[in-house]
């Protein structure tokens, strides 16, 4: 996204808005991660405690999800940059 046409007051406001949204996005990503990993990893409800195996699965799932999101983010940024470039030609 390109806010270069914005004046100082507008940029200040956008920065504040973006920060707020990043916080919300992080929260949603976090609870989405927990839900997703729980659904994949926890299938035994004969006990209310996480088994060692379930906990290990949750940790791997969380780590992998973060790395996945990061990688998607990197590719996403590249693709966006390419589109921006093509639009300016």
């Amino acid at each position: 996204m390109d806010f270069s046409g914005f004046n100082a007051a507008e940029q200040t406001q956008m920065t504040r808005i973006i920060e707020k949204k990043q916080m919300q996005d992080f929260m949603r990503m976090y609870s989405n991660l927990v839900e997703r990993c729980f659904t994949s990893c926890c299938n035994d409800f004969t006990s209310k405690a996480l088994s060692t195996k379930e906990e290990q699965c949750m940790m791997n799932c969380a780590d992998k999800f973060l790395k996945h999101s990061e990688r998607v983010g990197a590719r996403f940024a590249e693709q966006n940059a390419e589109i921006m470039n093509n639009q300016q030609k």
Binding site: Q22, M23, Q24, D25, F26, M27, R28, M29, Y30, S31, N32, L33, V34, E35, C37, F38, T39, C41, C42, N43, F45, T46, S47, K48, A49, L50, E54, E55, M58, M59, A62, D63, L66, E70
Partner: protein, 103 residues
């Protein structure tokens, strides 16, 4: 947050909009997690045959354990994310007074 307070009529004086906004954010977060637990534990515990309208004994016990387990899983993931460091824009670290990641 001006989304709800309408200048007029609202009890003005000393409302701190930052605090209201943070409270709303926490409220939304808790609601979001509650809804996810409802949905996840429904998928885990409730038979979709719907032969009766009451929870069976097995379903009830399953729900109790599912909620407890979800909380534990949530806590473990929260601890992990805090260890990894705030690699999502520092959002993790600044989560209020640390209360949100542990719910």
């Amino acid at each position: 947050m001006s989304m709800f307070g309408r200048g007029s009529a609202a009890p003005s004086g000393n409302v701190n909009p930052e605090r209201i906004e943070m409270a709303i954010q926490e409220l939304d977060m808790v609601t979001d997690i509650f809804n996810r637990i409802v949905s996840t534990c429904h998928a885990k515990c409730i038979s979709t045959r719907y032969a009766e309208g009451d929870l069976t004994k097995g379903e009830s016990v399953c729900i109790d354990r599912c909620v407890a387990k979800f909380f534990e899983a949530n806590k473990k993931v929260g601890e992990r994310l805090q260890n990894v460091g705030a690699n999502a824009g520092g959002g993790g670290g600044g989560a209020g007074s640390g209360g949100v990641l542990g719910f």
